[in-house]
Amino acid sequence: MIDFEEELSKFKPSLDISAVEDIIAKSDISDMNDILMELLKEQVKG
């Protein structure tokens, strides 16, 4: 049975179109390669 209140609480505000520029500026689009390089560089340094 659906818990109506709980289900409703899952709905979050949507992103404003006017915020696109700001979101893009703050967005981190690192991929797996970037993350692996960072991790392994730290290991090598350590």
Binding site: I2, F4, L8, F11, I17, V20, M32, N33
Partner: protein, 451 residues
């Protein structure tokens, strides 16, 4: 090299997930497609196709903001020959579209806010407006459906949920809500059938959905079993397996590869340092060579200056000769004349037409004829007075004017002999004997020499 292999493998994996995403999108399994594309982008952020498709699916699901973000990033990564440019251009051409989208988003956010304050009626009204503006805004449709269910308006809720499934065929929430709306007996027996998974999707989203769900989106046991929930679980398992594979299989390889890369970098840096050392040596050598050249040029410059001074000195001597000659002081004139290097005297173009070589030519015959005798006489006087060095200076002056003047050479030799330098004297006597063996002076030289 290791880095390139790693990058290539990640690109291949990313393309695999992109293909899966594309395949799911073609079946209108948009939620799962988004998951697959998220993984594709996580593996390779420069997978432009995956990023563009991700944006397109978000747009289709009414998430215009996410679509814009995705396409703008896509264009930032690849500015030429990018489909995202077309998408954005289309939106720019329809300037009111984004305004409407913004309005829908604002109303949706307002509705969410109203839901949080338990103002469900107002929220329902706001969401109805949102769905009117954007009939494919899935989040709004689901929220509205949920409120409709709460209000007991099952028909309206079903209609909305079926519309959601037309857009996103296996939307987990829509399926769950629909399932909840069915009587318990139906849920267990699963009387509604779905013929084929992946059958072509009807395009007529705008058409009113029939009450009989089987017409637009029939539901069967297979459909139930292969619900969005299962899709989400499958994707989740896939992610976990992928992460495990990454940690247990890929990471050690990567570590070795990175260590190798690190060692290679160290070798390369050492090589560069070595090369830099060699370059430094080469630069030092080059610097020394340049310094040598500078020294040579300075020497040439100095020599040139010295030569110029030397040349000027000859003109000074000539002026002295002219002055003494004019004063009839011929001995002094001859003494100065003996120092002139005639090769340095050259004429230059000048207005009055003064010729240096001409002037010299007027004086030179008398000086060459009388100068050596006059100078030798002075030397003889000094020799008699015991000033042999002074005497030798005058004999030398006479010999500079007339190198073959034997009397000056003989007297010079005597001066050396008298002063005690017999060796130099004998050499001079020998020169005289060799130059003119039959000369009277040569005979005397032989006698002095002891022959």
């Amino acid at each position: 090299m290791a880095s390139m292999n790693r990058r290539r493998r990640l690109e291949q994996m990313s393309n695999g997930y992109y293909n899966l995403g594309l395949s799911l999108a073609k079946e209108r399994n948009l939620s799962s497609a988004l998951n697959a594309l998220s993984i594709a982008l996580g593996l390779n952020k420069k997978n432009i196709d995956a990023r563009n498709l991700y944006g397109l699916i978000q747009f289709e699901m009414g998430e215009e903001t996410k679509a814009l973000i995705s396409w703008v990033i896509s264009i930032n990564i690849k500015s030429m020959n990018n489909l995202a440019q077309n998408y954005l251009q289309n939106l720019r051409n329809k300037s009111t579209y984004l305004e409407k989208s913004q309005e829908a988003i604002s109303k949706y956010n307002k509705a969410v806010s109203q839901i949080r304050t338990v103002n469900y009626d107002m929220a329902r009204m706001s969401l109805k407006q949102v769905v009117d503006i954007r009939p494919h805004f899935i989040k709004a449709m689901l929220a509205l459906a949920l409120l409709d269910i709460r209000e007991g308006k099952a028909g309206e809720a079903r209609k909305l949920l079926e519309s959601v499934l037309l857009i996103d065929r296996f939307n987990a929430k829509a399926i769950t809500y629909l399932d909840e709306m069915r009587p318990v007996s139906e849920r267990k027996s699963g009387s509604v059938k779905l013929s084929v998974i992946g059958s072509p999707i009807k395009k007529e989203k705008e058409k009113p959905v029939e009450k009989n769900t089987s017409a637009s989106m029939p539901v069967t046991e297979i459909y139930k079993n292969y619900s969005g929930m299962f899709t989400a679980v499958n994707v989740g398992i896939g992610l976990i397996v992928g992460a495990c594979a990454m940690v247990f299989l890929y990471m050690p390889t990567m570590k070795v590869a990175l260590n190798k890369a690190h060692n290679k970098e160290v070798v390369e840096i050492s090589q560069k340092l070595s090369d830099a050392g060699i370059s430094m040596e080469e630069l030092k050598s080059e610097n020394e060579s340049l310094n040598d050249q500078v020294n040579k040029l300075n020497e040439i410059n100095n020599t040139s200056t010295e030569n110029m001074n030397y040349k000027l000195l000859q003109y000074v001597y000539l002026i002295g000769v002219i002055r003494e000659y004019g004063a009839k002081n011929y001995t002094k004139a001859a003494e100065i004349f003996s120092n002139i290097d005639t090769n340095q005297l050259t004429d230059v173009d000048n207005g009055p037409g003064v010729s240096i070589t001409g002037t010299f030519a007027e004086i030179a015959p008398k000086m060459r004829a009388e100068g050596p005798k006059l100078l030798t006489a002075v030397g003889d006087g000094l020799s008699k007075a015991g000033d042999y060095a002074g005497a030798i200076g005058y004999y030398d002056a006479a010999l500079r004017i007339a190198p073959d003047y034997l009397q000056a050479k003989y007297n010079k030799a005597l001066a050396y002999k008298t002063s005690g330098d017999v060796e130099t004297a004998n050499n001079l006597f020998t020169e005289i004997i060799t130059a003119a063996p039959e000369d009277k002076i040569a005979k005397e030289a032989q006698r002095e020499r002891g022959y």
